[in-house]
Structures are given as C-alpha cells and as structure tokens.
C-alpha cells in the first residue's frame, strides 16, 4: 500500500537550529558583502590617491625640467650667490652656475619623493583602516556600554597638555639643580 505526497504528514518540523542557522547565514552573508564593498572602496580610494599624486609629481617635475632647460641663461642673468655681476652675460659663467641649480633640483625632487611616499603610506593606512572598520560589525552584548556619568567621572580634571607642561618643568628644574651642584 502506498500513499502519495499529499498523504505525508508534516508534523515533524525541522530543529530550531535551522532557524538560527538561517539567521547566522544571513548575517554572515551581509557582513561579507559589506567587507567586499569596503575593500572595493579602499582600493578605489588608493587608486585615486595614487593617480592624483602621480599627476602632481609629473606636473612638478615637468615644470622644473622646462625651467632647467631655460636655466643657464636665466640663472646667469639673475644675481645668483657667488656669480660675479661682470661675468653674468658670459657663457662660461652660466655653465658654472648650472651645476648649482641641478643640485637644488635634485634636493627638490628628493623632497617631492619623500612627500609622495609619506602620502602613499598615509593612503595605505587609511585603506587598511577602512577595511578594518568593516570587521567590527558585531556588538559585544555581554559587556555593558559605559554610561555618560561614568565617563564624566573618569575624565581627567587637568587641562589638555597640562601634564606634559608640568613634566617638562620638572625636567628643567632637575637639569638646573644638576648644573648648580658642586663639582667633586
């Protein structure tokens, strides 16, 4: 004897864990979606920053390259440090001034590179921070949030940087006492 699908009793319901599992899966899928979005946003931010920096550096260096090409005559004409005014219009004097300019350009380029490096590092840190921020999506329900009253009571009574000034003053006083002490 057989019974078809309509005869099958559905009195056996699935375990409660299935409902919990569905909620967990939904939360985890959402968390992964936001993490992916954060990663994409961080990558985009990094790319935009890098592109902007590359453009700025390229523009600076291009301008200075043009200046460098015109530099021998302009530098020679300008009252420049050790170059004597009488020799300003002569070509050998201009050639002598050029190395000094190139040294300055090299230092400037190094500064720009250092600045760009610092900005890249900052951008990378920002991107990492953005990604890290996407991980903290769960609330710690087992720890009560600090109340505003507690926060006020625990707040330092001194002004900002007062401790630093006080410590600095004590250090100076100690140094002065050391100077005034008799030599043994």
């Amino acid at each position: 004897m057989t019974s078809d699908l309509n005869d099958i009793s559905d009195d056996l319901s699935p375990p409660v864990t299935t409902t919990i599992a569905n909620d967990l899966i939904s939360e985890q899928a959402t968390r992964r979606l936001f993490r992916t979005l954060a990663l994409a946003a961080a990558l985009l931010t990094l790319l935009v920053l890098l592109g902007t920096m590359a453009f700025i550096v390229h523009t600076f260096l291009s301008e200075f390259r043009v200046l460098a090409l015109d530099a021998p005559v302009q530098l020679a004409a300008a009252p420049h440090g050790a170059a004597p005014p009488a020799a300003a219009s002569s070509t050998p004097a201009a050639a002598a001034a050029a190395p000094h300019f190139w040294v300055s350009l090299g230092a400037f380029t190094t500064s720009i590179a250092a600045l760009v490096t610092a900005l890249v590092v900052a951008a990378t840190v920002l991107a990492i921070a953005l990604v890290r921020a996407s991980f903290t999506m769960t609330a710690r329900g087992d720890e009560p949030a600090p109340s505003a009253v507690d926060t006020l009571e625990d707040a330092p009574v001194t002004l900002p940087a007062a401790d630093f000034v006080k410590a600095f003053g004590e250090s100076v006083q100690t140094a002065l006492k050391g100077l005034q002490a008799p030599v043994r």
Binding site: M1, T2, S3, D4, L5, D7, I8, L12, P14, P15, V16, T17, T18, I20, A21, N22, L24, I25, E27, Q28, A29, R32
Partner: protein
C-alpha cells in the same frame, strides 16, 4: 521544456554541478533544503512506503523512471534524516540520468558502496542537502560548536555532515 524529462545521459553533469543547478532553480535559500519540495517542483511523484500501513516494505527507497511520471519511494518508518537523504539520493539518480535503480537498501547509502551510480547519487544527496556555500558561511560565524549542531542546522545525520565537511576539506 518538460519538467519531468530525465537529463540526457550524453551530457551527464557531475553530482556537484547537478545539485548546484537543482538548488539554483528550485531552492528558496532557506535551511533545511526540502528534497520533497524540489521533487514536486520537478514533477516527480514522491511516495511514502513502510510504516504501519505497509509493514512489509523492507527497503529505504526506490527511483522508478519507467512510467509516464518518475516516482520516488522512501521508507517513512526510518529516521527523518534518513528519509530526507533517501529522497535526495533518488533525486540524484534522476538528475544524473540513471535508469530506474534497484531498490535501495540501507547498504546503498554506505560510503563503501561499490556501485558507481549509488556512490554518485550519495554524493549528489550530500551536495543537495548540505550546500557548500552555506556550510562554509556557518563555519565562519563560529557560532555552531559541534557536529551535532551542524547536523541539526541542515537536518541531516551527523555522519552525513561529517563526511561532507571532510569532502570539502573543512575538517581532517
């Protein structure tokens, strides 16, 4: 397209792909996966055998594809998780283009079964009842602590969830 048509054997998919395709078409994304509902959506008649009304039925399940409409039988006197696995297993015979299978005994669901068709159907059943993506997501949450809870989440046996995790390389 006739929903009851058995997939052609010339383009037989792997158990994983067949199960993924079936889930994509006929599963609402909520656990537990209901193989009876999927079978009904495919136009397969699911028949309960055994129990007090049919005490002589000594098999776990059967897939009959000889008539106009495919039929899946399962033994309702067995544990619910076994019933679900049996229906999923018989769905595997259907999805993988197997002919009507011999009546499945409990030995058919063993991992040591020698018959290729039975082994593939078992793998299909595991893929269908325990989708890999959902299993990985649940593992990532770290909220379910042991195999028993995972088995409850997917409404399968602990043995099935253990083999599935091992198959996915999630546990040694």
């Amino acid at each position: 397209m006739n929903p009851t048509a058995t997939p052609s054997s010339s383009a037989t998919p792997t158990p994983a792909r067949a199960a993924a395709a079936m889930l994509a078409r006929h599963w609402d994304g909520k656990l537990p996966v209901d193989p009876r509902r999927i079978a009904a959506a495919l136009g397969i008649r699911v028949v309960a055998r055994g129990g007090r009304a049919d005490p002589g039925y000594a098999f776990s399940g059967y897939f009959d594809n000889t008539g106009e409409q495919p039929v899946i039988e399962y033994n309702q006197s067995e544990a619910v998780v076994r019933q679900r696995f049996t229906i999923a297993h018989e769905l595997g015979h259907y999805a993988l283009g197997h002919a009507s299978s011999p009546r499945d005994t409990p030995a058919s669901f063993s991992t040591k079964v020698a018959d290729d068709a039975e082994r593939l159907a078992n793998r299909f059943a595991a893929e269908l009842l325990i989708p890999a993506k959902e299993l990985r997501l649940l593992l990532q949450t770290g909220k379910l602590k042991n195999v028993a809870e995972f088995a409850d989440a997917f409404w399968t046996s602990q043995l099935a969830i253990t083999y599935r995790m091992q198959g996915l390389g999630l546990i040694p």
